[in-house]
Each structure stands twice: as C-alpha cells, then as structure tokens.
C-alpha cells in the first residue's frame, strides 16, 4: 500500500487536483479505493456529492473490519476515535493473524503507523512527480486507477455470486454512462449487489419449496438445526 500511494498521488494530480487537495485526501480519508474512486469521479465531471457517495460506499467495508477489530483489540472507548482512522484492509489482515491480544494491539499500531506514514509520504512524492511529468496521460498514468481497482477486485471474485455481481455491475456502469449524469452510473451499478443477493435467495427458496423428496427434507431439518445452533452460538458469544 505504501507504494501504491505513489500511484494515487500521480492519479490525483493527473485528475486535476492540487497538491494540497491530493495530500488532504490521503491524510483525512486514508482508504485507498475510496480515494481513487473520488478523484476518478471528479475528473469525469461528477458533482461533489455523487462522487463522495461512491467513495463512501467503497469505505463501508471498513465498518465490518472495525467490528472484528474491536473484539480483538478491546480498546478503551477513549482510544477508539484515534484508532478508527487506521481501520483498513491491511491493518485488519495483520491484526487478525495475531495469536494474542497483546500482539494484536502491537500489530495494529505498528502496521497502522507505518502505512499511514508511508501512504502520505508516497502520495506527496507521486503528486510532485506528476507535476514534473507534465501531461500524465502521455505516460499512460490514467490506466493506474482502473488497474488498482482490478487488483483489489480480483481476489474478491471467489464464487459465481461475486462474478455475476461484477458482470452485472459492469453492464450497468457502462450501459447507463451515456444517459445518466457523471457519477450516478456507478451508484446505480452498486444495486447489482442487492439485486443478485435477492435473486439468489429466491432461487434457493424456490428449489427447496418445489423439492418434496425425503432426502431433501432431511437436509432441510439439518439446515434448520445448523441455523438454530449458530443463533445460540452467536448469543453465547455476546454473553461472553
């Protein structure tokens, strides 16, 4: 991530943001995908609120990281507002890999501080570098943004559900581009997620309802048991 800060600095400056704006983004937002999305949307002429909305929805995943981390780190409430800025993909991955609470806290703090420093320093260098390069498009630097998105997306495409969501989102994002104002097609494409989830849920329920074989019914009972077990397990965890 430290190195891709350079790519962000270059992309942001190439999109027409000033040095101050570029550095402010890395200091204040500090979550890579959202920053790339924002400068891309602004460069495409999106209004500030639709551009920010796309960046915001990409950042929502950090809430779920925070949820896991708050259980692992058990930070005092007063420290949480300070720790929050460092809740990102990389710190979560490092913290989750630690065997004890002490090492989780150390891992989170060291990774967070190192990446925050590196990300901001490389953003500055990238923005300065872009200035020295002149027209960044000549150097192919406008391809850095989509390449970063693709690199983030690829490991997420683990099952057919993810692939269908991605394909539908591409169709919506490109298909609506000529007809909707800049920035809005991305938000419309986000609807691919709930749409596919809804259709997948309907298909699962439909398959269960239409199948009357005894074997299937045994499976259903097992599933119901599993669900009850999970619910009980979940409640137990909260009690602890």
């Amino acid at each position: 991530m430290g190195l891709s800060g350079f790519a962000f600095g270059v992309t942001s400056a190439g999109s027409g943001l000033t040095l101050l704006q570029t550095c402010a983004l890395s200091l204040l937002v500090f979550t890579g995908a959202s920053q790339f999305a924002l400068v891309g949307a602004l460069a495409a002429g999106g209004n500030p609120f639709t551009a920010a909305a796309g960046a915001f929805f990409l950042g929502v995943r950090n809430a779920f990281y925070g949820l896991r981390l708050s259980q692992l780190l058990a930070l005092p409430r007063g420290l949480r507002p300070m720790a929050a800025q460092w809740v990102i993909d990389e710190t979560t991955a490092v913290t989750l890999a630690q065997p004890t609470r002490r090492s989780a806290r150390i891992g989170f703090t060291v990774t967070g501080a190192t990446l925050y420093g590196l990300w901001n320093l490389t953003t500055l260098l990238g923005a300065l570098g872009a200035r020295a390069l002149g027209d960044t498009d000549t150097w192919g630097l406008d391809a850095a943004g989509p390449a970063v998105f693709l690199a983030l997306l690829a490991p997420m495409l683990t099952t057919s559900t993810e692939r269908v969501v991605a394909a539908l989102a591409v169709l919506l994002g490109l298909g609506l581009l000529p007809v909707l104002p800049a920035g809005v097609p991305v938000l419309a494409a986000a609807l691919a997620a709930p749409a596919v989830l809804y259709l997948a849920g309907r298909r699962t329920r439909g398959a269960r309802g239409s199948d009357e074989s005894p074997g299937e019914r045994v499976d259903d009972t097992a599933t119901a048991h599993d669900v009850r077990g999970r619910v009980r397990g979940g409640a137990g965890e909260e009690d602890r």
Binding site: G40, L141, L153
Partner: protein, 102 residues
C-alpha cells in the same frame, strides 16, 4: 470549491464508518444478510469503476490504449504478480499504445 466539498464529505463519511465499526455492539452488523451485502457492495463498485475508467471518455464509450493496459494488468494478476507490478504493467502498456498512435 467543489473539490473541497467532495473531499470534506468523503473524509467525514469514511471516518464515520470506520469509527462506527469500532463503537457499535457486535450484534447489529453480524446479521448474515447485512454481511453478505457488505461483502458484495465493493465487488459491484470496483467492477463498475474498473470498466468506466477503462472505457469511458466523458459520457462516451471508447476503446483506446487503456483497454490494452487493463488487459496487461489482468494478465499480470493471473500470473500472481505483486500489486505494484500489476499497476506498472497497465501504465507501461497504455503509454506504449499511445506512443504507437493507439
């Protein structure tokens, strides 16, 4: 000014969701449907953003050197290249394509 508004709104929003994850009780976000949706939302957004930033020129769809650059990035990903090399492949191939008049 518009850029600063966008930066401000994004900064506040992104910080708020990070903090919310640390502050809310575990049960609220642990519902299976919410978790599934939260996992799929970045997939949809990243896919749409990748496609748009490769094939869009304003509100028009175009096929230019960026498509070749993205294809190079995809090949690098399939070959399990490190992150920076994936981005570099896209940049170098796009620049090469433009230099050749693509």
């Amino acid at each position: 000014m518009n850029v600063w508004i966008a930066i401000g709104v994004t900064a506040v929003g992104c910080y708020a969701v990070k903090l919310a994850g640390l502050l809310v009780p575990a049960g609220v976000l642990e519902k299976p449907l919410v978790k599934r949706l939260a996992a799929l939302l970045p997939v949809a957004l990243l896919a749409a953003l990748t496609a748009q930033q490769t094939f869009a020129d304003g509100q028009d769809l175009v096929l230019d050197a960026r498509a070749a650059g993205l294809a190079a990035a995809a090949v690098a990903l399939v070959l399990r290249a490190p992150f920076l090399l994936v981005v570099a492949a896209a940049v170098v191939v796009t620049a090469g394509g433009r230099a050749l008049g693509g």
